[in-house]
Symmetry: none
Subunit: 197 residues, 4 copies
């Protein structure tokens, strides 16, 4: 039973993720999810009672996958230098910025807006702060090993994450080219890489 249920649940999540990726959060209806997943109208209600519940579960399962990916990475990068770690981190961020249509990010922004308007917690805070802390740690470690030169890793990490967030949202509203993203990332790295001016 439980196994079967899990399979079904996963099917719903997969299809729902596609729907949220292509339509955002607000405009997705239970009907959309029902049709995309091929499940019955009533059947969906056995698992979820609203699009919000589905969305939260989609995000949760995505976060778990992400976390697993992070763990695998940190495993393989256990002995890596800070520069290498930073490169990996920025590559991930770049991917996220450029993901575009296939990504849940628009839906996540919409959801986060709504939660903010209603005083609910959307998890956006946690995600943003976690990423900032990871970057901060990398910078600190690089500073210790002498790979980077930064007296205030916290400030740099914070500044960079805001700029990255800005690129993310601009990518989804205005559009941004890969070249532009690269340029911005390189520019920001001057803050702590040996500047050969």
């Amino acid at each position: 039973m439980s196994e079967r249920a899990d399979v079904k649940r996963q099917l719903i999540l997969d299809k729902a993720a596609e729907v949220f990726a292509s339509k955002g959060y607000r405009s997705v209806t239970m009907k959309d999810i029902v049709e995309a997943s091929g499940i019955s109208r009533g059947g969906l209600y056995l698992y979820y009672e609203s699009t919000e519940q589905v969305f939260l579960d989609v995000v949760k399962s995505m976060d778990e996958a992400e976390e697993q990916n992070g763990k695998n990475m940190s495993e393989s990068l256990k002995n890596a230098g800070s520069a290498e770690l930073l490169l990996w981190f920025l590559k991930e961020q770049k991917k996220e910025i450029l993901k575009g249509k296939n990504s849940l990010s628009v839906a996540m922004y919409e959801y986060a807006f709504e939660c903010k308007l209603n005083g609910k917690n959307s998890g956006a805070k946690h995600r943003f702060e976690t990423a900032t802390q990871v970057l901060e740690k990398i910078l600190e470690r690089g500073n210790e090993t002498g790979e980077f030169v930064c007296d205030d890793a916290k400030a740099i990490a914070s500044n960079m994450m805001y700029a990255i967030e800005g690129m993310k949202v601009i990518a989804r509203t205005v559009g941004i080219s890969e070249k532009k993203v690269d340029k911005e990332l390189v520019y920001m790295m001057r803050q702590f890489m040996g500047v050969e001016e």
Copy 2:
């Protein structure tokens, strides 16, 4: 006649702006606007045929007010130094970042997302690029007068605007304190202010 219509139109816009500010873009219905503006169901359709039309007009009238504000400012700042100009610019950005509930920005993000998904133009591009250019001009002038030290005004302006955009969106999803905004702005100013380290 035309005057009456303008008065009514303005009434609708004012009330609609409040609605969009408090509910975002997607979830606003014609009914919401009808109720907020105290107009009749059919009456609204004399002026606008969809929430999108209302929204676009709200934004347009807001942009015009903004532009007027900009003109007044540039008038009074005609002889101002670049540092002064910059301060004004950043103060405006800070206000925008912190505006929160009373602001249309969430609705504008939602609208821009939707336009991007559908390949329409939302005006977001124009707004972002214009602001970036203004900042760039200020920095260039400051560089010429010796008030600032920046060899690449374009890169700095771009980087700052992304960070500012990041703060804007973070303010609407995660929240941000005024102190934090100040800190970030000050940090970024180190890029071109004489750094007395």
Copy 3:
């Protein structure tokens, strides 16, 4: 005053007639008439209180024109033979059958249906009976003068008018060619013309 009113009234009727001709009766709204006649919404109500009133007046003015036309004809045909009269009559009927788009007949059918359903008088009866009597008179006279051979002019007239009515309605639902109409009319004339078989 009264003169001006008449001019206005005529303007409304002319434009309304076009509307009824192209849209039938049921689907015409006051709005259609307002827009077609270029008169103001409220202005129309000064003259007519419903589409039905407008329609009835359109038909009335059309009937008057028709009647005038009939009078002119009978004037010029005062001394004509019965065969000549019959030809004129059938030519008129043929015109009516083939009028198609520019004609009020669809609207008149719709109106007559509605009146029948509601037990009201639509004038259709009067029009049909009058035409039948005219034909009957022509046949009778022709019989007297020896131009036609018919012992029962009433029966022939009745039969012909039903067939003509059938062609009219078939023309408006199925379509009919001029050739076909001619053929039918000629066929029916065999009933009282000397048949040279």
Copy 4:
């Protein structure tokens, strides 16, 4: 499942047929059908998306019943003489002419008018032509067997059908008595029955 749906569909059709019979085509709303069939507002949309769809299905199911009736008749009339067949045919036409209130014919005329105005096919053509051909066949056969005397069955059939169509539409706009219909039918039969004058 499909059976249940069919039962429901039939219920809708039955009630809708009554509505169309009493109100014609144009003035029937989805609401009318909803109320007549006792179904819910949304429920109707599960089966039909417009009054036109409902109407077409009503007509289709009526046509099928008609066709079945025709088959049964031709079965029992397999060995019948042409005169007998003709009598059956005219009796059916007479019934159709006199059906009045309980009939869909007004709605069908309205629908056919609308289709003609919009260049769509309404099925009226097919129905009229089919009936004409049936009559023609009967006359031809009668001619062969010597029961009738007609050198041009096609012309007679055509003429009769127009007159019958005329009676149908006059019945719905002006009214017609059974006696009158009989008289007309008898009159027309003189064209090919041995005329004992």
